[in-house]
Amino acid sequence: MEIKQVEAQIEAILFTLGEAVELERIAGAVDHDLETTKKILHNMMDRYSSEERGIQLIELEGAYQLCTKPSMYETIIKITNIPKRHVLTDVLLETLSIIAYKQPITKQQIEAIRGVKSDHSVNKLVEYNLVQEVGRLDAPGRPILFGTTEEFLRYFGLQTLEDLPVMDQEKLVDFKQEAEEEVQLRLDI
């Protein structure tokens, strides 16, 4: 078999296992004697280090392992620190708007409005520091009341919650009328 092919096999083995693999095991897998395998491995080591590669092949007491080069450290820190873009999903936005306008409100009341379980959304909003516990309702089970945080107000440049755009009564009446008309329409058919 061509040397190149054996090198590819060794690379695949070390990549998959991730850990240090003894020379004997490698030799057995690629079907070559220890001497030859070792020579191939050392050739590979040279090539990994000389080329502009991000990974290197190191030897640890007769075992071999692939790992990143020390010079890559900065880049790796950077990638793990680059925030995944956090966005508020539609579900979170919906829940946030309900809490903003109906606060203080319990999880159950939110669920009554949305028609679906809302634990996850509320917890995420708390985690993002947009929503917080503001007390407990004086009712059986003493459920937690949620409201928006100062952070939330600051972001929108609001002094107080009263500065939130109002949901006027007129609008509500309109909605009601629309719904009624729709039903009437259905009944007429």
């Binding site: 925030p83 936005l93 939330f152 909605f175 629309e178 719904a179």
Partner: protein, 258 residues
């Protein structure tokens, strides 16, 4: 039509139908509905499935076939413009779609085999790096959210909720259970009778708070008449009824077997 001794296992009603069509070597577009229906029913008979849910799926398909069969036996109504739709068309469409997905899943099966030979490496991130927990900044999170957008979202939530409410039914009053105690009312009227001796039936009813109370009061009055504890007088039809309480004591309801 003979049934093979060992029945094959079918995924569902469509699967069985496809099998029958293929076995009869006929075009899917030209299903001999009568034959296929009979064979289909034979299979179901042999299945003896205990699972109601599975069985019902097959039965629905059998019913569909029978329905098509009967529609095909009936003379086609002649219409001037409308194209005559083959009753089998819907079934054909479903079958073709199902067949398509069977074909695709076979393709996926092959791909799965090739892909299983590719191996991945678990992450090897140094702990000091992986332990770092990024902070989520509110500014980033809300970057494209404005107050008016938030307001708009809330409006649509409210609207959605309104749509869900049936305005007609929601106007129906609530049905509340009223606790009216008949024996108590029976005693109350007698107490009232001792105190007033003569009183108006209309006033008595009007002082009741609910329909249920009125009914119970009326029943009590009837009973008191029956056992001779009160006397009633009415001068003209539809006039008020004057009640005179005759007894000097009060009787428990249980004593009269009311």
């Amino acid at each position: 039509m003979s049934i093979p001794v060992k029945l094959e296992v079918f995924e569902g009603p469509l699967d069985l139908l496809l099998h029958l069509i293929e076995k009869n070597k006929v075009n899917i577009y030209d299903i001999p509905i009568v034959e296929i229906t009979e064979q289909y029913l034979d299979y179901i008979k042999e299945m003896e499935s205990k699972d109601l849910e599975i069985m019902s799926g097959f039965l629905v398909m059998a019913a569909t076939l029978l329905n098509i069969k009967s529609r095909m036996l009936l003379p086609q109504e002649e219409t001037e413009e409308e194209e005559v739709v083959d009753p089998r068309q819907e079934l054909v469409d479903r079958l073709l779609e199902y067949k398509m997905f069977k074909y695709i899943s076979e393709e996926l099966k092959d791909k799965q085999w090739d892909a299983s030979k590719v191996l991945y490496k678990p992450p090897t991130i140094p702990p000091e790096i992986s332990d770092y927990k990024e902070e989520v900044k509110v500014e980033d999170l809300l970057s494209d959210l404005t107050l008016s957008k938030l307001h708009h979202i809330f409006n649509s939530v409210v609207k959605k909720q309104m749509d869900k409410i049936d305005p007609i039914r929601s106007k129906f009053g609530k049905i509340e259970k009223e606790e009216i105690n008949l024996s108590e009312k029976f005693l109350q009227i007698q107490e009232y009778g001792i105190a007033h001796r003569k009183f108006s039936f209309r006033n008595l009813l009007e002082s009741q708070h609910s329909r249920m109370e009125v009914i119970v009061t009326f029943l009590s009055v009837l009973e008191l008449i029956k056992i001779g504890r009160i006397r009633i007088e009415q001068e003209c039809l539809f006039d008020d009824i004057h009640i005179t309480y005759l007894a000097d004591d009060i009787i428990q309801m249980e004593e009269v077997g009311f």
